[in-house]
């Protein structure tokens, strides 16, 4: 599909985020290519979630620029970025608790859909996403009745309902059993097959290895390794960051 070198979907240029005197993300520049499956790893507190908060707009960045499809989105509010095509899930699931699973998705379809479509069409889209995610039977369940893995899937489904071009999955597999990890991983793989670029933050190495075209490892807010999964795993500094010296 891609000819020579396609323009990056997401381009981050010397992005820095400070909290008081603490620098959580330190001068990071990276291009994410369209259709890429991008793994983001790093020890706890290395700035992974801060980085994606800067991409999705939850945090404002001080110095640094975020370009999405050649548009500077650095100063845009999160909901505008969502409408531009950046969706995310949360490390700790954040469902709309007073709503059913279907209603959670309808929020996304009401507010983030790129063109105006009828209620019936939106309902069809919602059901097809739920079916794809294996949640069709839970459409009318309240989110408080969902199990952990169902909650993760619902978050991904809700993100998908915004019809993203870039999906950021923040530790969607944390705390799941190995069969559930496979389930979620298969889902992410199938989404990647649908022309959606995915940034996956994960601690579970087998998942990252299997999933990613490219892996970036952060430590103390800086990029310490970037390359194919095998290259990054073999990197001495990555091993040090994870295992200590």
């Amino acid at each position: 599909m891609a000819s020579e070198a396609p323009a990056p979907l997401l381009r981050i240029v010397s992005l820095t985020k400070r909290f008081g005197g603490f620098t959580a993300v330190d001068n990071i520049s990276i291009d994410i290519r369209p259709g890429e499956r991008f793994g983001l790893i790093g020890p706890n507190g290395s700035g992974k979630t801060t980085l994606i908060n800067c991409i999705s707009g939850a945090f404002r960045t001080e110095p640094g620029t975020v370009l999405f499809r050649d548009e500077d989105i650095t100063t845009l509010q999160p909901h505008v970025r969502t409408r531009r095509g950046i969706a995310r899930s949360f490390q700790i699931p954040r469902p709309f608790r007073s709503m059913t699973v279907a209603e959670n998705l309808m929020v996304a379809l009401d507010f983030a859909a790129h063109e105006h479509v009828s209620v019936a069409e939106r309902h069809d889209t919602m059901m097809s996403i739920l079916t794809q995610m294996g949640l069709a039977s839970k459409a009318n369940a309240s989110t408080i009745q969902l199990s952990q893995v169902e909650l993760r899937k619902m978050e991904l489904a809700r993100a998908m309902a915004t019809q993203p071009k870039l999906l950021i999955s923040d530790e969607a597999m944390a705390g799941l059993s190995s069969s559930e990890i496979d389930e979620v991983l298969d889902l992410l793989m199938s989404l990647a097959g649908r022309d959606i670029t995915i940034i996956m933050i994960e601690h579970i190495m087998q998942a990252v290895m299997r999933f990613s075209d490219r892996v970036m490892c952060l430590d103390a807010g800086k990029i310490i390794a970037l390359g194919t999964p095998l290259e990054v795993m073999a990197d001495r500094r990555v091993q040090e960051a994870y295992l200590g010296t």
Binding site: P78, H79, T82, F90, P95, F96, V107, F111, A112, R158
Partner: protein
Amino acid sequence: MKRSGAAFWIGAAVFLGAAFVMTKVVGNQYPFFAGYVILQFVALAVAWSILGGYAGYVNFGTSAFFGVGVYSSVFLVKAFGAPLPLQILIAAAIGAFMGFALGLLTLRMQGIFFSIATIALTIIIETTIMNWRYVGGAAGIQIARPEVTPPFDNYVQMLFFVQALLVVVAVAASRYIQNSWIGRGLQALRDDELAAECTGVPTLRLKLLACVISGALLCAVGAPSAMYLQFANPESAFNLNYSVSTLAMSLIGGTAHWSGPIIGAIVLSTTQQLLTVTISSEVNVLVLGVMLVLFVVGAPEGIIGLIRRLRSYRKEGGS
């Protein structure tokens, strides 16, 4: 959806018709005096819950909006002799502007900080009015009612009907919001503001909209009050009791559905009216407090929540 819409408007028409017939049939003035207060609280509770219930931003500034409504009427009557409909419309416009200003200044704060800011608003405006000689200052001001407009033959009866109209307007607005994308967005941001933003909901804009609509209605409901009492003073117009009662009525009724605040306001203000007549006006404040505590502990979702729980319980038991 469409059928329930027709049912709603038929219900509203029947309600207004009944209120009108009442002004023709009932000779005793007391039901109108008491009824006005009840309707006023229904409208206040419904208007309050647009921001306080749907969006979950607890506004303690009801008395600020109400008082501004009262005093905008006082000013309009004294300065221009403005008729009642104009008083209400201008009060609504001022309330909308106030809601917008308050929203811009405070809606970036969350939870308790927003609530505290709304209390501060009440105090600031009350102090301002207290030092404004033209509208009577701290001592208050007497207002003479003009001639009553036909088809009504008594001013209080007319005010009663006007307040009934305001109830219908407030409920229609609240119901529309709940059933539309606005309501879904507000519900989402009440559940989780960051998640709502990241799902495409323009949270600040929706909160501002809710604040503007709620503010306009709260002010409009206050406007006829000057004529009702034929007197206004800052202490009673900005009485914190309006804030507390309105909040209590919405929460006791339940904010998950537009009908909740109506139920809560009718139950509470009727009880209050009865207690005021039979025992004393002090006791009704006590009862309000006790009921609020009982509901917060026993039925945090209000009467609406209780009904829903009973219904689903019965359904599960039946099948």
